[in-house]
Symmetry: D2
């Protein structure tokens, strides 16, 4: 991933659907000698919203990197009243990981980064328990114990936010972090906090979904990665997957089978986020995969 995306720009945009957007945007890039790598567009015909992701090589692009944003905003985005973001592949995202006691998602993430599968920096891991400090040490990543309880939540979250800022964190991953974040925390990172919920949402939101799944007698369990909003387990869904179970599976086996789905679904969501493939509108995602 890192090599092919080097020196490229990615534009994510959405706006009311109108004629001519694709032509205008592609001309803007072509006329300035940019070579388009991928273009994905989608029109939500129900809500009449136009979405696009476009990536082009910056080598030889006539507009200097630091001026692209200004030029695009003035020449194109204003005309169509777009909501948009631009990303450059030489600006590596910085991810903070929040964990509690379970290691499977954390290991899956760290082993991918260690193998060079993803292009991301992980400046810190935050937890409300000491259990996973040894895993952080295995990978040489600073571990911060921030023990949240009913009385100190505001203060502890303030500490967390300071840590995130000090480390220039661009997005947060809750890798089976068992605390609910406050609205003010969430508002600092809109569509930039990714959670993994251990059920096939909207089935079994909240605590102990595997116990509920066992109780209900479902034949398939799942996991859901989503952006965190102030509405618990109700944010925009990024990815979901499932695994078949039978009457032979005890709750312990549901938990074990579920972990395999959780870590996969979370890691796939992180990759989509890192590759700037996700657009959010109306609490739903467009994932250009």
């Amino acid at each position: 991933m890192s090599k092919t995306n080097r020196n490229s720009a990615i534009l994510l945009m959405h706006c009311h659907d109108q004629k001519g957007i694709v032509a205008d945007v592609t001309e803007f890039i072509n006329n300035n000698e940019g070579n388009i790598i991928t273009l994905d567009e989608h029109v939500d015909r129900l809500d009449k919203v136009f979405y696009m992701r476009i990536e082009w090589e910056l080598d030889g692009f006539l507009i200097p990197q630091e001026k692209i944003s200004d030029f695009f905003g003035t020449l194109i985005a204003a005309k169509y009243n777009m909501q948009w973001n631009i990303y450059f592949s030489d600006q590596k995202p910085r991810m903070a990981i929040f964990v509690s006691k379970l290691s499977h998602c954390l290991y899956d993430i760290l082993s991918r980064v260690h193998a060079g599968e993803w292009d991301v920096d992980i400046p810190l891991i935050i937890s409300n328990h000491r259990d996973l400090e040894p895993v952080s040490k295995q990978f040489g990543i600073p571990f911060h114990l921030i023990e949240i309880n009913e009385g100190n939540k505001d203060e502890m979250e303030k500490t967390e936010m300071e840590l995130l800022k000090a480390n220039q964190v661009t997005f947060v991953v809750l890798a089976r972090y068992m605390q609910v974040l406050s609205e003010s925390f969430i508002n600092q990172y809109p569509n930039r906090i990714i959670n993994i919920h251990h059920s096939f949402l909207p089935a079994f939101p909240g605590a102990k979904p595997y116990h509920s799944a066992y109780e209900r007698g479902v034949k398939i369990i799942g996991a859901t990665s989503h952006y965190v909003t102030s509405d618990l387990d109700a944010g925009p869904i990024i990815d979901q997957d499932v695994v078949r179970i039978t009457h032979r599976d005890s709750i312990d086996r549901l938990i074990m089978k579920g972990k395999d789905v959780e870590k996969l679904v979370l890691s796939r969501a992180i990759l989509m986020h890192l590759q700037r493939r996700i657009l959010v509108y109306n609490n739903r995602t467009v994932v250009f995969n």
Copy 2:
């Protein structure tokens, strides 16, 4: 299916888990010169319930078919205080199909029966609309229009129950039948009415699940076949399956993709029921597949 199961008996049983059940049941069959075809057992260690399905060839079995039930009940079942049923493969099940306007499940069922895939009789199709009468005619199956409205439900259900009895129906399939059955109707056919719900239960129960799925922005949709209980969409689940969707799928495409899952999940449930592979306990199923 029909040929290999000819002249066989199937016992389904469950009881409090105790030592010696398997040995006693298999000895009962062996000592009487029965040849066991399949034996499946399961112990729910949480609730301490023992489940078993055992099938044996009747050719050469020393106890005459009409006395097996009495002998087994007296010699074995009483000892362990079992809940049990015995089925003989020469007694063909008789299935009534209830439909409304959508044909996909009905076609899937009828084409399987027509191809000899299942060993079942279909004496009648009941509907509250005329739409699928032509399909019934294509396959030469009597079609009964029973138009239910708010005022006549008791009376119409009485007519339906009389039809089922007159046709010696042993179980009912709701193939996208859009009416809710009354409790008294359901009680006539405990664990013998199979419904298909067009969502991955417990997500999106009730009406218009595809619209709700679109609204919520899920990435996977599904279908659920279950036995009908008086608690709407909450009966014991027999089978479930899913299909992946993306932001490109409109509600119409969700409905179309969903239909393929619905007909498959319903037909698989019917097959499991026909083959006597389903045990129900505590609103959950054991499906010996």
Copy 3:
């Protein structure tokens, strides 16, 4: 499908990747007052091939329908040396179905057409056996028995080709047709003959794949829909799917489970073909789904 696509044009094109194609094509449509419904493009960066599918509404389009092809070819396609096709949604495809003895795929197709799920005409069914004549009759479609044997293949295929021409057939579906078509027949319908093979190709090509799968002890079986080329079971793959099996599944059960996958995978391929979503290049498909 039929309603939303009415009065629309679909362009499928591929050519050597060059700058400016998307801008030029979208401008061609926009400048002539066409409203783009969907645009999908893909660049094969290994082979440097550009693929695009674009669909737009014809209501209000300034170029008359019968002249679009000429104008696009002259103004755009020539410039980029494109391979391209244009389709209009008011020109309904005409599908011939070839079958042998198994009914599951045929029923799945006919029940979809009967329910209005697809926008297609089926002027005839051709078979080398009488077995499925009753199914054709159920749906009122002319059935032609063409008994091919080792000695008469050339002559019988000539009869078939005449029938296809007389019925203005635009594409052919082999719905578990057990004969191998000659190269000269295939060449009449390049990328317009869809076959379903009952294995997960390239595993188990040729005859009796379920027996081979059982013998090999695989844990998953599958089906593959592909365009027919003169190289047996080696044409461009359109869709594949699988189903999990266990040691409990006899060959008969493999066949039964496999049928469910076959009919689904074939019907999905037909839909993609009907909706002009498939591009073929280098014996592979791009399916804009």
Copy 4:
């Protein structure tokens, strides 16, 4: 897993199918005050082979653990001419892992063991490259570099076998080990060497399966875990799984998506092996799951 299986015995057996086996075996356990935890049996009706896995608690069992094997062999197994093995949950399996350069499977295995998910000892990791020595160190497991080349294979394998014996290894996992083992090595560990092959066998055996899959244009890729036999990539299959791909997936993305399937399919196979759920007969497996 470790807790519930403590102090239990597991019998795996197969023999020509005969009447009375289940009754005899369960009576043997019941009469000696053993409490059966699970019983799974399967009859291959084509080859007339009977398979069974039975697990019972040893607390209170009248026959001392060290004599069970002798008693069962004499009293039951001889009568039916069984092939059988007995395992005790207090005898922890010892697994050697062979790797080359890719870390994803190794990390998946080690993180599960580290989290206590599996009950196994890993006395050593063997590799023909230094690349994964740091991963071994992270988890404190001795790493042995054994550089095999064309000239020294016999000698190096001798060293490996000595290491395995010195470490009382009971089974070997090839976690993307890129060397072919000799027949004499394989014969030391019949059905005790688990390999992961990065394709959906029998499709794409041998080297570079993802390149072949891309070339062929398949729509689904997979991975296969199997016991190693002297016939390359043709041993008894334990588990397989797949992931859907599209024309948008480059070879690099096939490799990345494939890795997720590989590690999952390998880890599931190891778990089945650890839990003594696998029986092999005629180059196929029975996996009592």
